[in-house]
Subunit: 365 residues, 2 copies
Amino acid sequence: MSNFFSLNNIIKLMDRKINKDNLKVFCISAMEKVGMSIEDAEITADVLVTTDLFGIYTHGTNNLRNYIKKIKAGGIDPKAIPQIIAEGENWTLLDSGSAMGMVESYKAMAMAIAKAKVSTFGFVGVKNGSHFGAAGYYANMAASQDLIGIAMSNADPSMTVPGSRGAIIGNNPFAYAVPTGKDETIFLDIAMSSVSGLKVIQSKKNGKKIPNNWIVDRDGLPTTDASVFIDKGGWLQPMAEHKGYGLALLVEVITAVLTGAGVTKEAKSWLNELSSNCQTGHAFIAINIDTIMPINLFKERIDNLINEIHNSPKAKNSDRIYLPGEIEWKKYEHAIKNGMRLPIYVIESLQELAVDLGLKINYIF
Amino acid sequence: MSNFFSLNNIIKLMDRKINKDNLKVFCISAMEKVGMSIEDAEITADVLVTTDLFGIYTHGTNNLRNYIKKIKAGGIDPKAIPQIIAEGENWTLLDSGSAMGMVESYKAMAMAIAKAKVSTFGFVGVKNGSHFGAAGYYANMAASQDLIGIAMSNADPSMTVPGSRGAIIGNNPFAYAVPTGKDETIFLDIAMSSVSGLKVIQSKKNGKKIPNNWIVDRDGLPTTDASVFIDKGGWLQPMAEHKGYGLALLVEVITAVLTGAGVTKEAKSWLNELSSNCQTGHAFIAINIDTIMPINLFKERIDNLINEIHNSPKAKNSDRIYLPGEIEWKKYEHAIKNGMRLPIYVIESLQELAVDLGLKINYIF
């Protein structure tokens, strides 16, 4: 370990304001090193860095090191070009061939947008897909072009369901984005579990008790003991019990059963099973607002709704009501203006990636 | 009050096994009495009685008395014929003219199904709509024809959102249904609140403490005191906090902002504001599976998923894992076979309706 990796140095680096373009250049150079085309590397870098800019560090450049490990182990094919296997006026089915998740998803949503512009609705399903990171990016692709965007994916099982023990179904991410007139997009990017596995792992590290709706123990019963998570048979609980279960199942049906992708256990972990293809399924939906309602009228109606919510009576000790995505957009704008501060685990991951590949990294800090 | 209404008699009636066809005949005769066509009355009766057969008594024939009060007060137009105001290959926008909610919704989903059969996706939005009862019925219309069905609606605000106090948005119902090979449909019918208002009202009556994620008090803070609900400024909490808020907002955007229906406070209560049109919006989506994946293959894949979930390890003290809708289908089949037992509040409501309209009712018990 060089001095660059000392804790003192990392803590110093956490104070550096990182320029997004330098971070992108580093990510692109890393992906080119393992055989990805510059075009695909640029797409991936934009997805990951934008996710960091939104403050969703768990799904951004932090994960590039693992994606590249997976490429080296054969679990992701950096050269795969997603193929159209069936198509209609308003839908397309893609076989991704285990391409990089960001590449297949960017291309799929771009196709859904193109279909929607002609046919009002556009649906693109993806089979043989890989972990696609933060779903919100793809939903926002549509909203930035004045369409409503929806993005979803299944994942390897990490969630119990009512009456079961063990991991039965993935916590299947779902995102949507809606264009507005005066503000940035409204967007929501959630998983169907009560909380993310990372949040449980953090509580496990801290030895803290957790609320009893986060996980179940090995018997499938709610527990406040984070230490049983995964190793001792503990798994995530669905959000709002049967409601989160039911919605996760809908995502599973649309992204995986309908597309021919791996269903539940057939989908493999992007993180732990490096040499396996993820075999996950995704679905991307775009709705061309303007054919249904003139876009300016729609935006006026959305802006009125935003104003109404912003101006609603506040709860005690609350001074603001946020729209979905508003906090992320504030972080984004702050980071674009002032540069971005990355948390320690992201800096470590990027540095380790630089060492793995023999790349220079100092210039991004 | 005749003896027919005595508590003893009602309790006796609760033991009677009610035949669904007699119940339908009674409902139809009530609606004809207030000017509805027999065709529309039959549609409405089928929706309400089927909802009772599923055991969802809060959304079935119990509400007919109030719908008819609303017709008499001018809030629902029993003769309205929903009009197509705009249309494309795979979508339709309807102005319902405040028709009975079940009539406009049945017709809208039938149109979405017809569109989907030709164009893979079918979307029908409804403005100037009325309370549509249980969303699951319409989703199941699609699934019974081998399509995936989705039904949703906005509603007058009853839910707070993170950081607010008071009612900001409706608890916006959402349902989906999926065809299977060997079993009945998978279907989920939920609202975006933690629990239904009725459940809070029951706890209020019983004087029971409630979990602190059900409602907020007048300050917008979580409370375990059900007595503050509505009268003292208490309102429902969204399920899973910001996740339920975000999903309710998506339903609001698709059903109301996009269709031109009443948004948030513009939507009026079907229950309390009798002379007001509800002005709610609905959206119905049908997806023709067979154009994307051969329907038999899809059903085989769904059946495998069902088997896998059924055969998963059970939680301690659990002997069964249910698919969404499975409990409702079991109740349905039992009621079809053995007749149906209605809860006391439904029997009371039907009897009061009979008195309101001077109809015979004894024959249904």
